[in-house]
């Protein structure tokens, strides 16, 4: 068992990043909250916590990533249904944008998506992402790059809307 104070401090330091990452990784806010709690349980039960800061971040996000992968496996069909069933009207534009982002993320290669999300939502360095996803730094760079270009292509309209809002 990890020392409770260490586990709590580690969790408190990364709770927001974990929640943000998991929300995009599973596409569902409540599930992301539950999985964030599961991360804490696993951290608390762990035999030991890495000492170095960058190792700790990589370690805790590897736990989160594994939980997200397990969840996606269990709910693959339902998630696919929820992302494709998109109503045409009656939803505010921002909700449409969020759905579009979730759809675009869901269409990515899973490893590309994880590398991208760990960078964009949790702020992990390439080296930390490499450790969390068991990749080389060069592979991380390449996967993030590929994910960005694909998302840029799929989300042209929402990106243009964000830029227009910034300019106005």
């Amino acid at each position: 068992m990890a020392h409770n104070a260490d586990a709590e401090a580690l969790f408190a330091a990364h709770e927001t990043g974990l929640l943000r990452y998991l929300r995009r990784a599973v596409g569902h806010a409540e599930t992301a909250r539950d999985l964030t709690q599961d991360v804490f349980v696993r951290v608390a039960r762990a035999g030991g916590i890495p000492v170095a800061d960058d190792e700790r971040r990589a370690w805790i996000f590897r736990i989160a990533r594994n939980l997200a992968i397990d969840h996606r496996r269990r709910h693959e069909v339902r998630l696919a249904d929820s992302t494709t069933a998109r109503p045409d009207t009656g939803r505010p534009a921002t909700q449409d944008t969020l759905l579009a982002v979730n759809e675009a993320l869901a269409a990515l290669d899973p490893l590309d998506r994880d590398a991208f999300l760990l960078r964009e939502t949790a702020g992990l360095s390439y080296a930390e992402i490499a450790a969390a996803c068991e990749l080389t730094v060069a592979a991380v760079r390449s996967r993030i790059h590929r994910a960005r270009l694909e998302l840029r292509d799929r989300l042209r309209a929402p990106i243009a809307a964000v830029l227009a809002k910034e300019q106005s």
Partner: protein, 115 residues
């Protein structure tokens, strides 16, 4: 080693090492500038928080909430069960006590005791 436009813009956005000369070259190109703007906007989109809770999307409630409700229900059942079962158990007579009478016979003066 020179990095191409995409690599250097990504490295700049991600606080990874890059050569400033490569970035200057990338941003001198209109496509490079547009790429930087697009990727910043993409980051904004991905970090955006939903207005309403996404509970509608998956059709499932919070597990924590259901655990709390389950715990509360179990507490109520346990409390009611304890209140119902405990008093009779506490009233149990000791093992060597005489049995509880099932019929009480009272003698009245002048009555027929043979009946």
């Amino acid at each position: 080693m020179t990095m191409d436009t995409h690599d250097v813009v990504s490295a700049f956005l991600d606080n990874e090492p890059f050569d400033p000369a490569d970035l200057a070259r990338a941003l001198a190109d209109p496509d490079g500038r547009q790429l930087l703007l697009d990727l910043v906007a993409l980051r904004t989109l991905v970090r955006e928080e939903p207005i309403a809770p996404a509970a509608h999307a998956g059709g499932t409630g919070s597990r924590s909430k259901w655990i709390a409700v389950g715990f509360l229900a179990a507490s109520i059942v346990f409390g009611a069960g304890t209140a119902w079962l405990l008093p009779p158990l506490l009233r149990q007579p000791p093992a060597d006590a005489p049995p509880t009478p099932h019929r009480v016979v009272t003698f009245e003066p002048g009555g027929d005791v043979t009946r």
